[in-house]
Symmetry: C2
């Protein structure tokens, strides 16, 4: 998907919402467990209910891998379902991969070609030769961890370098020099709105994928105030549990839609 | 697998060799492509041929994921085959995962329980809450990236902190404080023998998984000189392409065995 297509979709929907598909058999409504593929049945219902209010879906691959072969199958079916029925929606394989050369190319093939996602999240600890191989595939994006929303961000990303910079900004500068804004996004956590605003100043035209809204405590309006690029938007704001587990009853899809609509309305009011 | 069991196996074999199963349909012998599952057929032949000379196997999960569902199936069959036929061999899921809390727990479940590997490689960029969840599973190990063997290690791991330490040593110190030596290993590249010796001084009782021998240019005897713990060994030395692709003809398994034996002999002479 091109940058222009993504921006058009955001403008059309007046939404930057990305719905995180962290699907967990222990949390989905009990009545779905008798389905042949309960994970896919849940995802399909959530996707059909929320597609109107969001512009992206982000399956977290760990949740699928945890179920082995059948989980991998549910993930493939989910991505294929989105691509067939909602082709404007941007699909993020939240895989947080990071390995070198040939191996990185394999991951790019797995998620961007075989599975046909639009993008994959990548961890930068191994440096250039673990990140660059994800670039250069037309219409595909690499989403690199910058400053994450979890407490552990202090342990590595927020260490102070001799140069007076934090590790994460030094890393983001390097990563930024390897790609164009048509194929690179950064992960920047919503739980750090002041830092999000500073990173927006540093990278005024790069899309940010912002997790941490809702269950993790960040607010969509704060994120938009600190991070929106006028005209270009430049944000995908992710909510996972707060949307998909809004209810565990028969009405789960309706409640997910309501929850997604509420977030879309908050975004629309601030765009 | 316990530390004592791993050490006993190393002593028995006089080998610290780990064979990396980076299995690629473009590189395996052509005559295997007519098999029902060529990846598994190749792995099975390589495992049967090399088990005598090594103590561990390390499938790199990217190679399997690149083939989607069928690749994932080949990976599960490969791990099950090793566990059933060579139960003393230590199995490393070289997955380089790194994600927080619940997600990390999912990955731990996927590879250490569902797939029953002995260990998984983990990237530390997201900090404590992305690494600690892999601990505390009896007999299972977390193998954290310390200083890797690739050129990109300079981009993040070798940045100098205000404290006068490199990023990688600050990270390794923290990680080391979260686990016991019965469940933690570090990845330390063979292409940096002087630095391997320094890290051994810092962490005298922690196992290191050392990639970069053979195709990447490191030497097993240098690694042993710089990194072996007397009596305890403390090293798994990985070779992938140099062993498994020693020949692409009908004799591939025999040549892989010869290549593994040569490495074992070099290790034995230096142990």
């Amino acid at each position: 998907m091109t940058r222009a297509e993504l921006i058009d979709h955001i403008a059309e929907k007046q939404s930057m919402l990305c719905v995180g598909l962290d699907t967990d058999l222990d949390r989905i409504p009990k009545h779905l467990l008798s389905e042949e593929d309960p994970i896919f049945a849940f995802n399909k219902a959530i996707i059909d209910a929320t597609a109107e209010y969001c512009v992206a879906y982000k399956p977290n691959t760990a949740f699928y891998e945890a179920y082995g072969l059948s989980g991998w199958q549910s993930l493939e079916k989910t991505v294929a379902y989105i691509k067939a029925n909602y082709p404007k929606h941007f699909v993020i394989a939240d895989a947080k991969r990071g390995d070198i050369g040939n191996t990185a190319k394999r991951y790019a093939k797995a998620f961007l070609e075989t599975m046909n996602c639009d993008s994959i999240t990548v961890a930068p600890y191994m440096g250039a030769d673990s990140v660059e191989p994800f670039g250069g595939i037309p219409g595909k994006w690499v989403i690199v961890l910058g400053l994450t929303s979890n407490a552990g961000a202090e342990d590595v990303q927020k260490l102070m370098l001799q140069s007076g910079e934090y590790v994460h900004t030094a890393v983001m500068d390097k990563v930024h020099s390897w790609f164009s804004d048509d194929e690179l996004m950064f992960v920047v956590g919503a739980t750090r709105p002041d830092e999000l605003a500073k990173l927006r100043e540093k990278y005024p035209t790069t899309f940010f994928l912002v997790p941490g809204v809702g269950a993790q405590g960040g607010s969509a309006s704060d994120v938009i105030k600190g991070g929106m690029i006028p005209g270009d938007y430049g944000l995908l704001i992710n909510a996972s549990r707060g949307v998909i587990y809004a209810s565990d009853g028969e009405d789960f899809a309706l409640q997910a839609a309501n929850s997604a609509k509420k977030l879309r309305d908050e975004m629309k009011a601030n765009m």
